[in-house]
């Protein structure tokens, strides 16, 4: 078979094309497969207790940063504390999702005030808030305090303001809440134990 000049060039062109294709990266690259990095490699661990039910499972909270001053530690993962004798590292669906509670969009961030009849919140400072609350309490207490009852017995009670205490807050805040509220003579006082 006589190969005409033209055919010869065609074959060479094919060869050049093929080899350049390889140069283009056609060569079957060995797909490098590396393993996913371990997310907790350098996180800071803090022990805590789940705030939900009364099993009070032990938690390990992993936060960013190594407590360096310039790094604001944010909790990015929570799992069970394997040493805790009750939950032994397990968490229920609520506890396993605690990160979404800490970072919930519903978290309140600053004191807010709603004026009577108003349609929206107004941001206020802590000092304004404390002053306003104390003022309201004092005015109501001074006006409605009952020193003695009809039978003349000393009762020293203030019945026109009530207080519901948080059953998910710590014993320490519960203790100082009770001590403070009782000192005002308040009797309409309860917590979730009632429901």
């Amino acid at each position: 078979m006589d190969v005409t000049r033209r055919q010869f060039f065609k074959m060479c062109a094919g060869g050049v094309g093929g080899s350049s294709a390889v140069a283009l990266g056609f060569a079957p690259a060995d797909a490098l497969a590396e393993v996913r990095p371990f997310k907790l490699a350098r996180s800071t661990e803090t022990r805590n207790t789940c705030p939900y039910c009364s099993v009070s499972c032990g938690l390990i909270m992993h936060s960013l940063g190594d407590r360096a001053k310039n790094a604001e530690s944010s909790i990015f993962h929570i799992e069970g504390d394997p040493d805790h004798p009750v939950n032994r590292g397990t968490l229920c669906p609520k506890g396993a999702g605690l990160v979404d509670f800490i970072h919930s969009p519903s978290r309140l961030k600053y004191p807010e005030y709603r004026a009577p009849g108003s349609r929206e919140w107004k941001r206020i400072s802590w000092d304004e808030a404390f002053t306003r609350v104390a003022r309201l309490m004092k005015d109501d207490r001074d006006k409605n305090f009952v020193a003695t009852n009809d039978a003349g017995a000393t009762v020293n009670r203030w019945l026109t303001t009530g207080f519901l205490a948080a059953s998910a807050s710590s014993n320490e805040s519960g203790y100082i809440t009770h001590k403070t509220i009782r000192s005002t003579g308040l009797l309409a006082f309860d917590n979730q134990a009632r429901v």
Partner: protein, 807 residues
Amino acid sequence: MTNHWVDIKNANVIIVMGGNAAEAHPCGFKWVTEAKAHNKATFIVVDPRFTRSASVADLYAPLRTGTDIAFLGGVINYLLSSDKIQHDYVKAYTNAPFIVAAGYGFDDGLFSGYDAAGRKYDKASWAYEMGLDGYARVDETLQHPRCVLQLLKTHYSRYTPEMVSAICGTPKETFLKVCEAIATTSVPNRTLTFMYALGWTQHSVGSQMIRTAAMVQLLLGNMGMAGGGMNALRGHSNIQGLTDLGLLSDLLPGYLTMPREQETDYQGYIDKRALKPLRPGQMSYWQNYAKFHVSLMKAWFGDAATRENNWCYDWLPKLDKVYDVLQVFELMHQGKLNGYFCQGFNPLAAFPHKAKIGAALAKLKYLVVIDPLATETSCFWENYGDLNDVNPATIQTEVIRLPSTCFAEENGSLTNSGRWLQWHYKGAEPPGEAKPDADIIAGIFLKLRELYQKEGGVFPDPILNLTWNYRIPRSPSAQELAMEYNGRAIADLPDPKDPTKVLVQKGQQLDGFAQLRDDGTTACGCWIYSGAWTEKGNMMARRDNSDPSGLGNTLGWAFAWPANRRILYNRASCDPSGKPWDPKRRLIGWDGSKWSGVDVPDFKPDVPPGDAMDPFIMLPEGVGRLFALDKMAEGPFPEHYEPFETPIDTNLLHPKVISNPAARVFKGDLEAFGKGTAFPYAATTYRLTEHFHFWTKHTGLAAIMQPEQFVEISEELAREKGIKVGDKVKVSSPRGFIKAVAVVTRRIRPLQVGGKTVHHVGIPLHWGFTGVARRGYLANILTPFVGDANTQTPEFKSFLVNIEKIS
């Protein structure tokens, strides 16, 4: 709980009734599956629904909501009639042999001394017959017709298996299978444990339901045993803590009680509570009431509390009645309240009859909300269509919403159901300007005190003299507060055995409540928590989880009250001669000079076995109460009363007395309760495992797991009403309506009750008009405004509704 979470693995029979442990306490529930796997335990669930607890149960018994006393009364009758009780235990450790006074009686639904007009009892006749020696009379032969055991037999003779099946709708043979399984634990070396929660507490006869189970445990000799006891699975992580610290209308820390206005005399107040033994040789530990009360007053008012002013007795407000939440919102609804604080509490969602709650809040002058989340209560004045149909312009309440930190952003301790106080550490800064609860309370208090100092005012003394000696007044640290409630010596405390030696130096932390004095030389914020932060440091932060006995008593982990004891009444785990009922599960024993073992003995350590002192050291009788004297509002023996909204409109035991005759019902409410004609279906509200009350609808992950409000109905009811799976339905009660998706399931079945078919409608309560989950109706739009006769816990679990498909 009398026992604790890990102890459940030691049980031979486990009953989840009046609760749904697998869904509400999953990680605690592991100890049920451990008991099944490693202790061959039988697991029984008794519930109106076939819950996720029932999915792993060996035996499931359906029953109509609100009829638990009938069921358990039937169990008592079965145990007594088939003589399946632990006789030695019952004779020695319960008040079975005590003889009841002649005046006591029960006839056709009412106990002796009923005052119909006042809807309450004159309980004088519910007492022991006292002997000349000043002690209660007993009949060791247990034959006396008026001894407690005989009265018990006659009272529950009416609760035959047929009657139980008629009232509860439980098939008779299923009920008998449950009884047989329970009866197997009447032998000394087998124990039964009850795990219950709101399914029992949230009824108008809730407290009595729990008492009936406690009586079953006494008859079977399971109280004080490893793998036994009465185990309340509490809701919130620190609801046990706040109950222990007494944050209730009529309590002081450590279950001390507030004075009534009739108790004008301090000594009378103390004597009424420092109960003298009713049988010779009993410990009756409340005799030390004064030590706890005086120490509390010294902790709160410091030097201002002196013997002369009866330790500031008059600075405590005096009760005319208990101001529970129903009473408070009734007054608020009448416009008698001006201010209200909601600290980490969402009453608009959590309390019954949401319409009344919203109307009441609208009458307030000011509302202060302290919460990490934007709750419905804080926006009760905003209009959310028919989810919260109000006009803000007409609501003149001033609302102040303060952001508080959550668990991850503060140090402190929480008390779990098993009475363990466990310390936790702050892991991150709170968002924005949120502050810890203690700082918010301090901020309010300091401002209030400052106003009284500057302007004077009515009776400022308790406020001005309240002890506040924290290093940073506006930010009291968790450590200081823990040390305060642990208690410390105000002066050198001489050792009672050898007065020359000093037991505790002035200013030092106390080791435990045994060191408390009533002469003002000790200060202690909560006597039962004494021992939490001693001179040896923060006992609540201990992390030694070793379990030498294998029974799960990790005494080196954290601190349990009282005195780090893990299983209450554990003296009753041995017979009177000190031999453990079950040698394989020995808790304590007498080692010749004192009691010791794998748990802190719940007994006077140096009193040898065979002595007259009995295990229930807090009670004047020293023994468990099958007959509850005058301590309960509606009777010394639990009696089945129908819920206030009953689907059968009668009481099969005594038609003349249908619902709880001693429960407080506000004016107008009795007539307003729903009747079976207009609202034919028995409804109950409950919790799902994916959500925590009204809290996790704010968390993305929980909202993904249960995104949208639904109600559960049986296939039969669905067919009857033409409802298919996934249809939208409207559920209404006399107080309002909700709309939800219909989950049609085989797990709820119609029950045959006294010849009638009763359908149940199950209503999970996790949705509301704030949060990231799909918006929904507050389930408590439907629930009745009536509570338990003793605790006033609202009857969320049994009421009547109607249900229709929304076309």
